[in-house]
């Protein structure tokens, strides 16, 4: 076991981790931040996406010890300071961008990373950026729409809610 410390959602945390402890496991099991989900074991599904030093990464494909000293952001830290949904979260609710909710934390984290680097993405850019996030429920329609809406674009012309 090795001691590991990091900042998670603005708070300094530390704990013990084995070499093989994944960042996703550290967040879920040690910090009880179970919003980060694990949906596959081949780095494909993206349910585990978190931000490490501001960049989207797949937390089930990164060792906890690799994140020693890092600034980590998870879905639990995304809401506004007053607890209300942030712009992306609110757009997902407004446009029904989630159903079972399991892929949702990863989708929101990826969407946040996208909008940081590309504040007004086209439909095509959103679809391409979500290459590493699988959703089995929505057929992606309302996810793409929600992200466009979150970036301030008019989605009224897109087929039905």
């Amino acid at each position: 076991m090795t001691k590991v410390s990091m900042t998670v959602n603005g708070k300094t945390v530390s704990g013990e981790a084995e070499g093989r402890t994944l960042l996703s496991g550290f967040l879920r099991d040690h910090l009880n931040l179970t919003g980060t989900h694990v949906g596959c074991d081949t780095a494909q599904c993206g349910a585990c996406v978190v931000h490490v030093n501001g960049e989207a990464v797949k937390s089930c494909n990164m060792l906890a010890l690799e994140a020693d000293g890092a600034d980590v952001g998870t879905i639990e830290g995304q809401a506004n300071a007053d607890g209300s949904l942030n712009v992306i979260q609110q757009a997902f609710q407004d446009h029904h961008g989630l159903q079972c909710g399991f892929c949702t934390p990863g989708m929101v984290m990826s969407a946040a990373a996208l909008l940081k680097e590309n504040p007004r993405p086209t439909e095509g850019e959103i679809r391409k950026y979500l290459e590493g996030n699988l959703c089995r429920c929505t057929g992606y329609h309302n996810i793409v729409k929600a992200i466009m809406a979150a970036s301030g674009q008019d989605v009224g012309s897109i087929a039905a809610e």
Binding site: T42, L85, C100, L134, C135
Partner: protein, 786 residues
């Protein structure tokens, strides 16, 4: 104007807030104090005789609590099948045992041989590697047609062959069917495969078993669409436990699509092991494990023949299907290729003579069971493909050919055992033609061709039987369960309401949509109504969520229970208002006396029910009612779908350029949720048509064993979809007039995609009749160059 609350409003989903903030409570988020972890040692060969399993080396390893093998489950029941199919000769299906851990033989890659319970998952995995297993490999049975041959290797040594049943529906007189085909002006024949799929809900399965010695009570937390069904099957057939000592909880469920209906060995194991180890036992499937332990879907090989007269009327239809059941009978596997498939072969058409033949096969593959649509996509795919092929052969417009043969008079008794209560297939097709701008297709094709691409249009219809089902009918057909549902409406003293429902949302938004109905009936704010589901200790009973049944069946129970509540509340209100009960009206949460300005609010009546000082003596205090609802018939959602594709003639790559759905779901409670259900179904249908392929090699090794080889649809594989739900013929026999919408998209979309691809290739001058799904670039290229 769209409504802003109640039935018909696109109320935003209240459950979203917890899902969007990481506050959901999925089964893997549950950890019970003191829990141990189980790892299953699974077979890496498809078929073999177990000569010995020696756990002794594993038992002493660090952290190991207990090692289980098949021997530990001798005398314990196996996994049951919930539907007995009778074959065409009147004999019951062959029903082999399905042990919790393999006994005697392993029958598919992934078949569990042993289970190690240890302090940590990694310790359990370490120890599993130390178990000595001696298995004599046997030839594996993979190809269904070969499996049906006389003398084929047997998957189950005690069965007479690998055929679970040889089933027939419709016209039983072969000579009569032959005669129809002999006299036909035209016969179109098509051989096709409905590809094996893996449901792959994003949440893998999880089970946590807990046992309390002091009270002899068990709790199972599990990823299930129907916790009561799991409790019933596990208690009555597998472990022999008293139901009242077992609580099954399915918290937030991360998608199911059918594959979380079934009772799985891992659930029974964790429950059993919790007592045997005197510790809670947790199992979390990895995705790789899911590929070889979740029931798969589809996997039919079919020949379909359509007979037409000289005027292009459909006069006969005959199908011969081999349906893969895998190595064991999963919970509802036997019903899928039969009653959920054969009964839908009439489609939207008035074909007078239909014969459906199905041989269900045991093979050395993972069990196959219901996956979104369950039998109905297999029926629709065959039918809508052969109709398109007939149109091409006859040189007629495929939409006109369909319209000509539509059922137009309702109720309509099909030759395959169903009675369609209502529908308007021409009306729905009209909606589709407008919504998809089919008139503009020629111009779009020209634009694609100018870019060097081939463009194709595929249009088809579908019908499904949902809201399963009248229990007396399914009982006659072999179901070993009733298929009603139940709800309790518990009104609290201050007027808020908890509704305990037997349906269990795994993404469908019940927590939002169900309260819309109750609130609308009473005239109170939706926020005053809360849904309780997914816990057998809190809910009277329920058959769960699948087959697009939740609102049609459980919602009807909820309506009935709410009606009972209102009736009782009116009696109380009548007392308070000193009026006759017959004169009491309920509107906007106010009880009033007709023709007067006297009224009393909902909250005052509910408070009176619990503080019955001024109260009618003949009425019991309290305000809580339960109703069970057993439908009178199936519901019949139907629709018409259009897909436009582009094909890159150089690579064979297909892209979906447009997809439009026109569905008739009857009345709609929450349009936003309904549209979302259709989007998701279409996404999965496009996945089946273009991408997904669960494949085995000839030795029974799973070739698509992870997301690296099983192609899931991604955001850039699909377009925005057009959906139109304005065609509405309400169901005639349930109180809400609803039909169900969960599976439609997955049923209606695969033939539209494939027909569109074939249309594109034919437009390029290549006469291609058929390509099997998934229509991958490689297959398209091969067809173009074949």
């Amino acid at each position: 104007m769209p409504k802003d609350s109640g039935i018909g409003a696109s109320s935003k989903r209240r459950e979203d807030v917890r899902f969007l903030t990481g506050a959901g409570n999925y089964t893997d988020d549950i950890n019970v104090h003191g829990q141990a972890y189980v790892h299953f040692l699974r077979s890496d060969i498809a078929h073999g005789r177990i000569k010995s399993v020696d756990p002794s080396a594993a038992e002493g390893m660090p952290g190991v609590v207990k090692v289980f093998t098949g021997k530990d489950f001798e005398g314990v029941g196996g996994m049951p099948c919930g539907w007995e199919v009778t074959d065409k000769h009147g004999a019951p299906m062959q029903e082999p045992p399905h042990p919790i851990l393999a006994q005697g033989k392993v029958r598919h890659v992934g078949d569990p041989i042993a289970a190690v319970v240890a302090d940590s998952l990694e310790q359990a995995r370490d120890a599993a590697e130390a178990i000595e297993v001696d298995i004599e490999e046997l030839p594996s049975v993979i190809d269904m047609k070969a499996a049906a041959q006389e003398g084929a290797t047997l998957v189950h040594d005690d069965l007479k062959n690998n055929i679970c049943y040889d089933w027939q529906l419709g016209e039983t007189d072969d000579a009569k069917v032959d005669e129809v085909f002999a006299n036909a002006a035209h016969v179109t024949t098509l051989d096709l495969v409905n590809n094996r799929l893996v449901a792959n809900p994003m949440e893998p399965r999880v089970a946590v078993g807990e046992y309390k010695r002091g009270t002899d009570e068990y709790t199972l937390f599990t990823t299930s669409q129907n916790p009561h069904v799991i409790r019933l099957l596990m208690c009555a057939f597998v472990l022999g436990l008293p139901e009242h000592k077992v609580r099954v909880v399915a918290p937030d469920v991360g998608g199911g699509f059918g594959t979380k209906i079934f009772h799985y060995a891992e659930e029974a194991f964790c429950t059993f092991a919790a007592k045997a180890c005197n510790r809670p036992v947790k199992w979390t499937s990895s995705r790789s494990e899911a590929f070889m332990s979740d029931a798969h879907g589809r996997d039919h090989v079919s020949k379909i023949e359509l007979a037409l007269d000289a005027d292009n009327n459909f006069i006969g239809l005959r199908t011969n299907t081999y349906a893969n059941l895998g190595a064991y009978l999963s919970t509802f596997s036997s019903s899928v290729p039969t009653w959920l498939h054969g009964t839908l072969m009439a489609g939207n058409y008035k074909t007078p003579v239909i014969q459906v033949n199905v041989k269900a096969m045991f093979t050395n593959t993972v069990p196959v069971d219901a996956y979104r649509g369950a039998g109905r996509p297999e029926a629709t795919y065959q039918l809508e493909r052969v109709v398109d092929k007939a149109a091409r052969e006859l040189g007629v417009d495929p939409i006109a050919l369909r319209r000509q043969n539509f059922v137009t008079q309702f109720p309509y008794d099909t030759p395959v055992a169903l009675t369609y209560d209502t529908g308007d297939y021409n009306g729905t097709m009209d909606k589709l033609e407008a919504a998809a701008d089919l008139a503009g297709f020629a111009a779009r094709r020209a634009a694609s061709e100018a870019k060097g691409k081939l463009r194709g249009l595929g249009v088809n219809c579908y019908i499904e039987a949902c809201g399963i089902a009248p229990s007396n009918i399914v009982g006659m057909l072999g179901a070993r369960a009733g298929l009603y549902d139940a709800a309790t409406v518990r009104v609290n003293a201050t007027g808020s309401i908890s509704v305990m429902v037997g349906a269990h949302s795994h993404g469908q938004g019940h927590e939002t949509a169900f309260p819309q109905v109750v609130a609308d009936m009473i005239g109170i704010d939706e926020s005053m109504v809360e849904i309780v589901h997914g816990d057998t200790s809190k809910i009277p009973f329920g058959m769960g969520t699948y087959g697009s049944r939740s609102l049609a069946v459980c919602g009807s129970a909820m309506v009935k229970a709410t009606e009972k509540v209102i009736e009782k509340a009116k009696r109380i209100a009548a007392h308070l208002l000193e009026a006759s009960e017959a004169d009491i009206e309920l509107k906007d949460g106010q009880f009033s006396v007709a023709g007067t300005d006297k009224s009393v609010a909902w909250g005052d009546v509910t408070l009176t029910a619990y503080v019955p000082h001024n109260y009618p003596l003949e009425v019991e205090p309290g305000l809580e009612e339960t109703a069970f609802y057993d439908p009178a018939n199936f519901t019949f959602p139907a629709g018409a779908y259009a897909c436009e594709v582009e094909v890159d003639p150089e690579t064979g790559q297909v892209t979906i350029e447009a997809f439009t759905a026109a569905d008739d779901f009857g009345n709609i409670v929450n349009p936003m949720i309904v549209d979302g259900q259709v989007h998701g179904g279409i996404g999965q249908g496009i996945g089946q048509a273009l991408l997904e392929n669960c494949a085995y090699d000839e030795n029974g090794q799973l070739l698509s064993a992870s997301f690296m080889d099983y192609a899931m649809p991604r955001a850039d594989d699909v377009p925005f979809y057009g959906v139109d739900h304005s065609s509405q013929t309400p169901c005639t026999h349930n109180p809400l007039g609803v039909k169900g919408c969960g599976e439609a998209g997955a049923i209606g979309s695969p033939p539209a995609v494939v027909n569109a691809v074939l249309d594109a290739l034919n437009s390029g001058g290549k006469a291609v009749d058929h390509i099997d799904m998934p229509v991958s670039p490689s297959r398209v290229w091969a067809a173009m160059n074949g």
